[in-house]
Amino acid sequence: MNTEEERAEIWLDSFKIEYGKKMRLYELASSPRILAERFSCYYEKAAAIVGEKTARKMADALRDSDDLAKLAETYKRKGITLVPYSSSLYPEDLRQIPEPPLVLYCKGDINLLRGRKFAIVGSRRTAQPIMKITERFAEELSKHFIIVSGMAEGGDTAAIQGALPSGRVISVLAYGFNYVYPECNRRLLERVAEKGLLISEYPPDTEPRAYLFPERNRIIAGICDGVLVVSGGEKSGTRITADLAVQYGRDVFAFPYSVGTASGAGCNAIIKEYAKLTDNLVDITDAFGINLTETDEISLTPAERAVYEALREGEAHLMEISERTGLKVHELPAILTLLEMKNMVVSCGGNKYAAIR
């Protein structure tokens, strides 16, 4: 069902050749199809790029066309769909970036590749309230966009969790599908594969390696229309994603942080340079011409209102809330739990709470 062209791309991608060399091979002939058809003519040049051994393997694979068919069959059995560069499914936005992946390995709902996408990324150290806010943003934005993120703990996890109920979520991995990383997100990874879509540029047996993550970030930045950076230090992976996104001409949004917050220094830095300071959903939806229908007003009892207002002054300990509202300390847990269920506040650990709306 793949075209000749697509098959040739899959063939070219199936040998562990690093991206630069792959591209040089790609450029040898006018297209991978031509390269494959006349590989014997290009053999010498190909061997010069990838070495004799790999070149011979490539030639062997071509000679025995069953091999490729078998490979496709194994992928299919594992539920993996290959989307090569020239496929009609390949996202147009991604095709436009300077170094597009040759083949996308996909697991899950392949139709999510079509449609408008928005990336939400964050660092692994994301404060509890920000996690909750990120979740809510992802949930809301998933009504208008397909949410794209990585799979790390922290900000990425929150974004995926927010969007997962709608199923409109894509997680871009920096390793092959045979691996799980981080281990604590195993369940989440499975659920994204069930309800959403997992994408990787790498064949299934590619181990997670530190240098693969920045490479992966270009896919996140390239596949989406806009990026929201929810947290990130001065030199973090999210910073790379944001820088790439702005190079590709995407809109970049970032949460502001107060002075001296290490986990948000990167956010503040990109706000200074190019990102749009974002503290509510409208900041994002306006940029895309989406008219956000305000969610229904949440009804609060006077006591709940008082506690909520007290928390809007800033993160506070139970004792402080008690001082601000005049309510007794032991009355507060019940009220705060209710507010937490209404998604208005979040517990930050150490008996402290923060408003997230």
Binding site: S322, V329, E340, M341
Partner: protein, 509 residues
């Protein structure tokens, strides 16, 4: 000539009568001790010989055979010294006119003839009394302990000479007068809630936990007073009744950790170190099966400081006793059941570095490290801990502030009130004393939930991602909170407060 003296041996908390038979025959001087004695019992020969000599009596230069019956029961410890000495005296007719048939002799002999105390006097006397024995001679050092048992005649002797004088009617000892149990009145408290500054949440949680007999987990940075709070738990628990005190004393007596007081008045507080082995926790031992920490904490508090540091197997071993309130230690020699109805109070840091959630210190742990640390405590065990609260890091100003804090005595009054409510509620239901003990049947009877409450429960499960297992625990805690508020029915705010004490579950998410 043959003589028979009664003594007792201990198996677990149970006393077993042992007949000490002594036979003196003409022949080559020898001393044979039969009836499965252990080393300590065998060595009694030397102690008895010297004690007799130093008490002005003769150790016969004849063939002596001592049999400890029943012959198939292993005899351990030094309970039989006195009985053997008396047996030899009787058999050699050095006790003219003495009637020893009705008397139970217990005690270890020193070479000088003085009587040394033995462990487990209280459970021995209780078992013996139940078996119909009426008169006892025990070491003077065990007198306090023995004096709490009414309905028997107990003589406490300083040394063998006193016993001999008593038996031969030269100088009769006077029987011990029965001691009145007085509870903890007048006991000075080393710990008091009034000394704990701040911590309103933790204090409230303590009150609820004790009120309903729930287990408690304190999560907080190092040095925030988790241990101090835990130490306060016995001070707000209701006083032990005499029966409870006796039960606790029995265990402490067997373990040989009973103080000079003779009875355990204050609820025990045990805090075994995290290197504790499973055997030291649950009880056991290769010769004498002794109660472990969980039994020593019976009726009181078992405090596990830094819970994730304990051996996994040790923690898992707690699960069954937490449900049943007893532990059965099974060894090749037999199975011994010890009571182990304790309140579990555990403490832990929120993360390996301890600063997660702290306002002034930065947590340096990665999420994976935190996850790993927390997962060291298994879900099933965590499930048995109904209340999980965070302890605040204390600011310096709070420490030196003069604000008055509520004292333990005040809190205790409230606790006693809710316990009274529960006693009334569960009157006539076997094995259920507190809200935490409730089974499904009792919960259906006493914890009816309104539609509003059901909705809240449903919402909390969805929103806060609580485990389904937590449901009944939540309702039980809500029941206690309602009791504290003096309410007949569980109201939404009670349930919500209970939900707020499942913090840790949602943190684990």
């Amino acid at each position: 000539m043959l003589s028979k003296v009664t003594s007792f041996s201990l198996a677990g908390l149970e006393g077993i009568p042992v007949e000490v038979e002594t036979d003196i025959n003409n022949g080559l001087p020898a001393y044979d001790l039969v009836g499965l004695p252990d080393a300590a019992v065998k060595e009694s020969r030397e102690r008895v010989r010297s004690a007799l000599k130093n008490s002005g009596r003769k150790f016969p230069v004849q063939k002596i055979t001592v049999n400890l019956a029943p012959a198939d029961l292993k005899k351990e410890g030094s309970y039989f010294d006195l009985a053997i000495a008396v047996g030899i005296l009787k058999a050699t007719e050095q006790l003219p006119g003495a009637d020893i048939a009705e008397i139970v002799f217990l005690g270890e002999l020193a070479l000088s003839g003085a009587l040394r105390p033995v462990a487990g006097i209280l459970p021995l006397l209780i078992s013996a009394k139940a078996k119909g024995y009426k008169t006892f001679i025990v070491p003077a050092a065990n007198a306090k302990e023995a004096s709490y048992i009414a309905g028997i005649t107990t003589y406490a002797a300083e040394n063998l000479q006193q016993v001999i004088a008593h038996l031969t009617n030269e100088t009769r000892m006077s029987a011990l007068t029965v001691c009145e149990y007085t509870g903890t009145e007048g006991e000075p408290c080393r710990y008091d809630m009034a000394f704990v500054k701040g911590q309103p949440v933790a204090k409230r949680a303590l009150e609820i936990a004790v009120g309903g007999g729930h287990n408690l987990l304190l999560v907080g940075p190092p040095g925030t007073g988790k241990t101090m709070l835990a130490r306060c738990i016995p001070t707000i628990m209701p006083d032990m009744t005499f029966e409870e005190a006796l039960e606790v004393t029995k265990i402490h007596s067997v373990a040989g950790v009973l103080g000079g007081e003779g009875i355990v008045r204050v609820r025990p507080f045990r805090s075994p170190h995290h290197t504790a082995t499973t055997v030291s926790m649950c009880g056991g031992g290769n010769r004498i099966v002794k109660p472990g920490e969980i039994s020593l904490a019976h009726g009181g508090v078992l405090f596990l400081d830094e819970m994730p540091e304990y051996h996994r197997s040790t923690l898992e071993a707690l699960r069954q006793p937490l449900e049943d309130g007893v532990i059965t230690v099974t060894r090749s020699g037999g199975a011994y059941t010890f009571p182990a109805n304790f309140m579990l109070c555990a403490s832990m840091n929120p993360c390996p570095c301890g600063n997660y959630g702290s306002s002034d210190k930065i947590c340096t742990c990665t999420p994976a490290a935190i996850h790993k640390y927390r997962s060291r405590v298994s879900g099933p065990l965590l499930d048995r801990i109904d209340i999980q609260v965070e302890v605040d890091s204390v600011k310096y100003e709070d420490l030196v502030s003069e604000g008055r804090e509520e004292s333990s005595a005040d809190v205790k009054k409230r606790v006693e009130r809710v316990r009274a409510i529960q006693r009334q509620r569960f009157a006539g239901i076997e094995g259920v004393h507190t809200n935490a003990d409730m089974g499904e049947r009792e919960m259906r009877m006493f914890c009816a939930l309104s539609r509003e409450c059901e909705n809240i429960l449903k919402m909390s499960f969805e929103r806060l991602k609580l485990s389904a297992r937590a449901r009944s625990r939540l309702i039980k805690v809500a029941r206690t909170i309602a009791d504290l508020a003096g309410e007949e029915r569980i109201r939404p705010e009670h349930l919500l407060e209970a939900v707020s004490y499942r913090n840790y579950d949602s943190m684990n998410g």
